[in-house]
Symmetry: C2
Subunit: 374 residues, 2 copies
């Protein structure tokens, strides 16, 4: 019988759960809006795709039978992906965004004390999952604003890492490696370390950015998403491509009925509208150019980007970039910035509409001026 008049209840969480903080990898823009008491003028911080999904995807979502559970196999979507990629359906698992798939992948591989390698300042949600399953994260620095495959793989060898994370293109810097360079680097991936290749931004990158090794190469798993170029961040649809033996392991732990049914339909329709994707790719490229021009007009240095955002070097340290960012936030422009020096000399602006980038251009001079004074 419970007695609980002695103050705080002692819930019997696992020791690991007990040790974890109640945290969030990113503060959402809505949270910031509520704190400010008003909405943002331009939502340019979450690397969403304001150009939106194919109209066919919007229609498919609207027409879906919401009363039915989604197909636990995501059969039609996997079939369409397999056809486009030239692999079998057994090479593909669909999940609740790359975040969801990363959670399953880390859970499959990482237990208490297992070593994992990533770049210092790379995707925090991956780190969140590693910590959440008791792994030990080893970080290597960026090299000239690029994630550094050879340094990552050398560290993986040193610590006997089970997983090494690499995003190509990179978030938050927008930098990328040519696929051929990654293919060459793979020769140095230690035996027994799986490369977790996050290709969330692959559709906005130049052709040839994905390494041209077979999609079932057992050394790596590729993670892709409908959240970026396909414009369906709200739908939460990602997929992983790898060797069937590895893909099958997801079925041990995934939430089989976890996929939103209309999201499955929306992703399928989005995949079928490659014309819209091409249209968005042009819009993204134009918006990157516009962000770069705005940066240069203000004496700042835009970094080359293969993603749907541009990192802009504010020319001083992290405190200064943070002041610029705060000035933009105060003026209703939602942007984010890297977490770690020296990348945190930059702010990161997601591609936006002409009107949104006009608002960014209008706010930036005052934000800079305030930051210089502060």
């Amino acid at each position: 019988m419970w007695s609980y008049h002695s103050g705080m209840t002692e819930y019997r969480l696992t020791p690991l759960a007990q040790s974890l903080p109640a945290t969030v990898p990113f503060v959402g823009p809505e949270t910031q809006e509520r704190a400010q008491g008003r909405g943002f003028v331009a939502r340019l911080g979450a690397n969403e795709n304001v150009f939106g999904p194919s109209p066919a995807a919007i229609e498919a979502i609207a027409q879906a039978d919401h009363w039915m559970y989604g197909d636990p196999e995501s059969f039609e979507l996997r079939q369409a992906l397999a056809q486009r990629l030239g692999v079998s359906m057994e090479h593909i698992v669909v999940g609740e965004g790359i975040d969801g798939l990363l959670s399953y992948l880390v859970r499959l591989f990482v237990g208490d004390g297992d070593a994992v390698v990533t770049s210092d300042g790379a995707y925090p949600t991956f780190n969140y999952h590693v910590a959440g399953f008791g792994g030990v994260l080893h970080k290597v620095p960026y090299s000239a604003d690029h994630e550094d495959p050879l340094a990552l793989f050398a560290k993986a060898a040193e610590v006997d890492a089970k997983l090494v994370y690499l995003a190509n293109p990179d978030n938050p810097m927008g930098s990328w490696h040519e696929g051929a360079a990654l293919t060459a680097a793979l020769a140095h991936l230690p035996q027994g370390t799986l490369l977790v290749l996050d290709e969330a931004y692959i559709e906005t990158a130049p052709a040839g950015t994905s390494p041209e090794v077979p999609l079932d190469d057992p050394r790596l798993i590729r993670l892709r998403t409908f959240s970026k170029a396909y414009g369906l961040a709200g739908a939460r649809v990602g997929y992983a491509i790898g060797a069937p033996e590895l893909i099958t392991a997801f079925h041990k732990v995934r939430n089989h009925f976890g996929m939103n049914r209309s999201a499955q339909a929306g992703a399928l329709a989005a995949l079928g509208d490659q014309g819209w994707l091409g249209h968005v790719q042009h819009q993204v490229a134009d918006a990157r150019d516009r962000i770069a021009q705005i940066a240069r007009n203000n004496g700042l240095v835009p970094l080359p980007s293969a993603a749907n955002f541009v990192a802009v070097d504010c020319g001083r340290d992290g405190a200064f970039a943070k002041a610029v960012l705060d000035g933009l936030l105060a003026r209703g422009i939602f942007v984010r910035m890297p977490f770690v020096a020296p990348q945190n000399r930059c702010i990161r602006i997601s591609c936006g509409t002409t009107e949104q980038l006009d608002a960014f251009a209008a706010a930036l001079p005052a934000a800079l001026s305030d930051a210089i004074k502060s």
Copy 2:
């Protein structure tokens, strides 16, 4: 450097992951349709709500901005739920269906070898999660087709369980306990065992089915969903209600950006349309009566149900019920059945439209006749 010419790759899964089967708690209806090469005439097996969600929910989903990530706090939905329930938002966490929330809850509490208690034949997805985190599941039998709270709690005391699962109303039997009986039983819940009270079907149950202990009673956590009476199974929106200290723990492990944005909007709209809910409750009650009548017309015994389905006693053993079920499936009627004796003498039919239940009524005599002959 990898060498992998020796046949199967040795992926370094955790020992636990290595030991798990690649399994699925339920085979989805689409999978069965693909195997049969044709669609079902009546989809009456997944306890979905064919009467569907509020038109306002459908509209909210269609109008959502799919290009934006969902609000990681599910602020508006939690606010509306808190207002309706008379608690604060800190008492509520929203997640990817009850399945998703069960996964987080088990992960928080259950590590290698930890004891968990449930009923033999109760919700398999809970068991899947317990196994998936290395827990040891102890099962107690149903008592007269009801889950047996006192037996569950006694077993929990015996094995020092961290969690004990109880669905009220129960799935797959449709039976239920009055809230007052559960309140009385709670006095026997051992200290340190958390009651996981699955109230997925609470909206189709008689008033007074939920125990009238405070919603922040630390002894239990309640799980509810928009998948059943609210008709949004495809949206994957569930919520848990409990003491803030317990609810906060979810933020340690949950996928903060895991909620589908349109699903959040749809659930909020569904919650706001209590008139539609009342309408559905009547339709469900009528359909239960109709299923019961069809059963009686065929000499079978319908069990009383507080859920959106009816378990029908086929009067013999599990093999016989399975033959009836197969006969229905072969005739395009998708139903399911309990897994465990003696409940598996039943088949379970979800509430359907008049046309679907007509199809069920038309198919049942032949299915029964075939089963008797076999």
